[in-house]
Symmetry: C2
Subunit: 192 residues, 2 copies
DNA sequence: GTGCTTTCTTAACATACATCAATGTAAGGC
DNA sequence: GCCTTACATTGATGTATGTTAAGAAAGCAC
């Protein structure tokens, strides 16, 4: 199974060769079509996804039916609703595929077992959590302290490739503004 | 050392009795006065704080000199700038004491060592990280999708005790609005 | 190709929130 | 006690962003 995930475990997570087959055996692969729903509100999230190819998205829908995008997961990212996965509580969020996506699927038990088997995996798992916290903290800081324009500039600086793959209204949703506002922000920027 | 922290490790973290003395030996205690600065911008964060009594705060200051509050830590909470502590990068945030505070101080090495010694500690440490992520995700969701009024109501519902201990302008700063706006939001609520 | 849907832009207008300035009030220093 | 400082409120006004509606451009189905 010389997949992207396998290579990721080897090259990036630095899982020792002897442990690799053990881990690889425990996961399954899934082909998703654009638009497929992986998690819905009220459901308890049982899976974690590793994106080999494609793009996933985590979002909420408010009382007025508006979507608010919490997170994107392109290639080599993990995606899950951790709050629901780890604590077993019903999710208030949705996960779906924004493109046809090849993903590796596993559950919390896999993470726990992998951490038992491979210290390297355990270390990397903590790294992922810490990094996630750092990134969210930065985002919160921008949301409470920066203008829409600044948030937009930060977004395209951080995820230039992503910005080319998703419609603008999704960027707007991620930034916490309307598509119309983002359009104006962009016009303001080009005129500078 | 029958301190709050000791009891916390025993009762909440469920560290085994035999491990407790080992862990307790490695930490030091600090008395802080209101206003004391524990971490400043540009500095690499070396410490994690456990608040036994008092209140700490993590915040940023933007180019216009405005403070934006990322997090509060009252009794029995851990406080640190994880991005800086874990990754060793210079902090863009500040930490200070909002009240006279009794805190236990330790470093990342303590966390690693404690995780080696006590599986219960390791488990609890991951619990803390997961919980932090869940809480930040919820906050991001409110920041991008809810009005100031709704965010305020969520805040006082979640931290009713905190709201009594800090000035209103700090709540406003945490919510990402001005003190004047919060004052108006509150007036609107009392008139309902 | 034709039609249908989605996305993006633009404009006019509405609203939430920010800014500036003044006042009131309460708390702490001494 | 008085003075100072920090905090909260209020009003007038400004600005960023939301709302509604329309049209153009691009993508997709058939």
């Amino acid at each position: 199974m010389e997949s992207t995930f396998y290579n990721y475990l080897k090259k990036k997570v630095l899982v020792k060769s002897e442990h690799l087959p053990l881990l690889a055996r425990e996961v399954s692969k899934k082909m998703l079509s654009k638009g497929d729903l992986l998690l819905t509100e009220g459901q308890v999230c049982k899976n974690m996804f590793f994106v080999e190819q494609g793009l996933l998205r985590l979002y909420s829908i408010d009382e007025e039916g508006r979507e608010h995008i919490i997170q994107f997961a392109p290639e080599n990212w993990f995606m899950s609703e951790r709050g629901s996965l780890y604590f077993g509580s019903p999710s208030v969020f949705f996960i779906d595929a924004l493109e046809d996506t090849k993903a590796v699927v596993f559950d919390q038990q896999f993470v726990d077992r992998a951490s038992e088997i491979s210290p390297e995996y355990r270390t990397y798992n903590e790294y992922i959590l810490q990094n996630h916290i750092r990134q969210m903290q930065k985002r919160i800081n921008l949301l409470i302290g920066a203008t829409a324009e600044k948030r937009y500039l930060e977004f395209i600086k951080l995820y230039p490739d992503l910005a080319m793959r998703i419609p603008q209204w999704m960027i707007a949703s991620y930034l916490g503004i309307t598509p119309e506002s983002l359009s104006r922000v962009r016009r303001g920027l080009t005129q500078k």
